[in-house]
């Protein structure tokens, strides 16, 4: 929002004539940093009848004399648009970033006129005119200036930006076709070329975010995507008599004065890449000597200038020094962050095992005794036995870590190296796969288990089946296969519900349920094969409008649900959404028949084009039958409807006269028309008894 940021607004008592080459200016010291968008000047009554265009400009000043030097931006008004004896607003053609404590100038000029026909910029002749706030005049069209006493009446308006150096920014990323793509600028994905071919998207993959990095577990491909560090390289990180820097050392560039805190090095001897957090504006250059302290222990020469991320490198022990920092598992497909540790699991040779790195050090895996921060290796078994196969890692902040296993659920409370405790929550329900879970806004866990969808309240209560009552055949109907299908669960906070999706790896054919946390009901959904959901994440984008669930689709695109989208974007073209719902109403009791005589639809939208969004048309079909089951069957079999039609418009519609007789009435609402959607408030029916039911 634009508000007045600088100005001098009182005490005006004298005219400053402005015309032709006779320009006037007022300097000022900016009180704070902001974005200048417009300038107001008080223009008194004209002298005579001036013509031309009034220009008000914002100038940088000459540091030597504090007088106007170079124009930054301007705004204009035709003389006919100027209001005499009033503040006039001049919008700058481009906003100008104003820096606090810097001297600027407001300059007013008129493109025509003379002394008898001019505009008058009002000023306070007794204004103090101290350095940095000075009235000045030019008689050569702004080429040279002379300081004067008094102060012109002016105001500079603008907006204060509250971003500051080091603002946190969210970036989305996506992985497909053995490639890693990230959001380089808002709304744009760019490939990270270094990753190409170093990911195998045909194998399981998961990630954890920590320390401005993405840690990927893709079986033997354990990698880091580093956004936070700078990088440079050296031909020899430990020349004769020297040692490689340790993690946390401050490296200083002797020539540049640049400094960085070392985070990771790729080797402790010979050629190496060095990654660390820059802590100066100065930058490391190629061929520069860098050292720790006085260089007695660590000193080497760079052979590249520093570069910003994202960087792609192998995730391994610090400096690849397994003697000092232990060995990572050779393979892992599960990774998470828990209590400042990176946790790995999903190794097919050790399926019951997990590995935890040192606290706040993803590159140290060497277990140490009597060390609360030590790396840990363990198994989710409370008696140290063989344990169960770990299929999912589900962290709950720094409080506890759930292990979703093949046939059980285990919970680790606290830190395993310091009084942590492993408990078995359930020994009969396991989780389908690594992505078959999600949490809602209250921290309740939902996962696809042995017999369908389960809820674990708070993520630590015993699992409760949500589908036994309403979808008892869910798992047999779905028959998900780990080799053929991907199952994902994803909580949508915007719509307060969960997508439960099964997609076939090769074809993209999909079956989904929407579980509404509002109604606690299940709603089947289906999508074009190209849109099948392979992955999902809730993206906490910087812009509120972009905060939504992202779905990684079969065809390489990332999609989201949009309320105003009436079709599915299926790549080259849109696909109409085929929607339908059918149910059966009883027309008569026991052996009595009933007759439907009319239907009244009340469609969403109120009055047409009013404040509420309007529905499109919806089609209906009626299936009278002797009994409820037959009516349902007719609908499902696609039998010829007794009658059908389309209801268009909004609000209460005209009565539809019908003569449908039977023991039950199937009612189907549907839409297959592209670019249409619908919503219904009510449907009213008039019925009357129709004698005995004839079978």
């Amino acid at each position: 929002m634009s508000i007045q940021q600088d100005g001098y607004s009182a005490g005006g008592d004298t005219n400053g004539a402005v015309y032709g080459d006779e320009w006037k200016a007022q300097t000022f010291i900016a009180q704070h940093t902001y974005e200048a968008e417009s300038i107001k000047v008080y223009l008194n009554a004209h002298t005579g009848t001036p013509t031309g265009t009034v220009t008000v400009s914002l100038y940088a000043t000459n540091p030597a004399n504090g007088l106007p030097d170079s124009v930054a931006s301007s705004g204009t008004l035709a003389i006919g648009s100027v209001t005499e004896s009033a503040w006039n607003t001049f919008t700058l053609s481009s906003s100008v970033m104003i820096t606090a404590e810097t001297i600027y100038a407001v300059v007013v000029s008129l493109s025509a006129g003379n002394a008898a026909n001019c505009i008058n910029w009002f000023y306070d002749q007794s204004g103090e005119g101290f350095p940095g706030q000075t009235r000045s005049e030019s008689d050569d069209g702004g080429t040279s200036w002379e300081a004067k006493t008094g102060d012109m009446l002016f105001q500079v308006w603008g907006s204060v930006s509250y971003t500051y150096e080091g603002s946190p920014r969210s970036k989305a990323f996506a992985v497909g076709n053995d490639e890693f793509w990230y959001e380089s600028t808002s709304g744009t994905l760019t490939e990270l070329a270094a990753a190409n071919g170093n990911i195998d998207t045909g194998r399981p993959i998961s990630y954890a975010e920590a320390f401005e990095k993405i840690y990927l577990a893709n079986e033997t491909n354990l990698n880091v995507v580093d956004f936070g560090n700078i990088k440079f390289t050296t031909a020899d990180i430990a020349p004769a008599g020297k040692t490689a820097p340790s993690r946390g050392d401050v490296l200083v560039g002797v020539t540049s004065g640049a400094e960085m805190v070392v985070d990771f090095i790729s080797a402790t001897d010979g050629a190496a890449s060095v990654y660390g957090k820059s802590i100066t504006d100065a930058k490391f250059s190629s061929g520069e000597t860098v050292k720790v302290g006085d260089g007695t222990t660590t000193e080497f020469t760079t052979n590249s200038a520093e570069s910003d991320g994202p960087h792609w490198y192998d995730w391994k022990a610090y400096g690849a020094d397994t003697t000092t920092y232990g060995s990572m598992p050779a393979s892992a497909t599960l990774v998470c962050r828990y209590r400042g540790r990176l946790v790995l699991s999903g190794n097919t040779r050790y399926p019951h095992q997990y590995w935890m790195a040192r606290v706040v050090n993803p590159y140290d895996w060497l277990r140490a005794e009597a060390d609360d921060l030590s790396p840990v290796v363990g198994s989710p078994s409370d008696v140290g036995g063989a344990g169960d196969i770990i299929k999912a890692l589900i962290p709950y902040g720094d409080d506890y870590l759930l292990f979703g296993c093949a046939n059980s659920m285990h919970l680790l409370s606290g830190d395993p190296a310091s009084g942590g405790r492993m408990d078995e929550i359930d020994d009969s329900v396991g989780i389908f796969g690594s992505k078959a879970w999600c949490k809602d806004a209250q921290g309740n866990l939902y996962f696809l288990g042995t017999k369908g969808l389960y809820l674990m309240a708070g993520g630590r209560e015993k699992p409760v089946s949500l589908t036994t009552a309403y979808l008892p055949q869910m798992m047999s109907d779905w028959s998900p296969d780990l080799d053929d299908d991907r199952v994902i669960l994803s909580y949508d906070p915007d719509r307060d519900g969960i997508i439960i999706s099964k997609v076939n790896f090769s074809s993209g054919a999909n079956s989904c349920y929407w579980y509404s946390l509002k109604t606690k009901g299940f709603y089947p959904c289906s999508f074009p094969n190209v849109c099948g959901f392979y992955s999902a994440t809730f993206y906490t984008a910087d812009a509120a409008t972009n905060r939504k669930v992202l779905y990684g689709s079969s065809d390489g695109y990332v999609r989201c649900f949009v309320d105003t989208a009436k079709n599915d974007d299926a790549g080259a073209s849109d696909t109409a959404i085929s929607s339908y719902v059918g149910w059966v109403e009883k027309l008569g009791e026991e052996d009595s028949a009933g007759k439907l005589t009319s239907l009244d639809f009340d469609l969403a939208g109120g009055a047409a084009d009013g404040a509420y969004s309007d529905t499109d048309g919806v089609s209906y079909a009626l299936y009278p039958a002797n009994n409820v089951e037959t009516a349902f069957e007719d609908m499902r079999d696609g039998a010829d409807a007794f009658t059908s039609g389309t209801v268009s418009g909004v609000g209460r519609k005209n009565k539809i006269l019908v003569r449908a007789k039977g023991g039950a009435l199937g009612v189907k609402l549907y839409n297959t028309t592209a670019s249409e959607t619908w919503a219904v408030n009510h449907i009213y029916a008039k019925t009357q008894p129709a004698g005995r039911l004839r079978v």
Binding site: A174, L189, E212, S516, G552, Y684
Partner: protein, 73 residues
């Protein structure tokens, strides 16, 4: 009479004439909160739109992982 729209979604395993109130076993792409005003009433589900114009991997292969990272800029 007002027809009982199946606002509570699907239900399987019951005799059709004994289904719990406001449920059915025959529906697809219909949700209980509409896309027009986000009210609890039966309506067609929202459609899917691309978030980014770029195709990950440059070809029609699945996006097997999506996520986010927070960085200081």
């Amino acid at each position: 009479m007002e027809l009982s729209l199946p606002l509570k979604g699907v239900c399987q395993g019951f005799n059709p004439d004994q289904l719990p109130e406001m449920t059915t076993d025959y529906m697809n792409n219909v949700v209980p909160v509409d896309t027009l005003e986000r009210r609890v009433r039966l309506g067609q589900r929202p459609g899917l739109d691309k978030v980014f114009s770029q195709q990950v991997g440059g070809s029609a292969t699945p996006v097997v992982l999506v996520g986010q990272v927070t960085v200081l800029e």
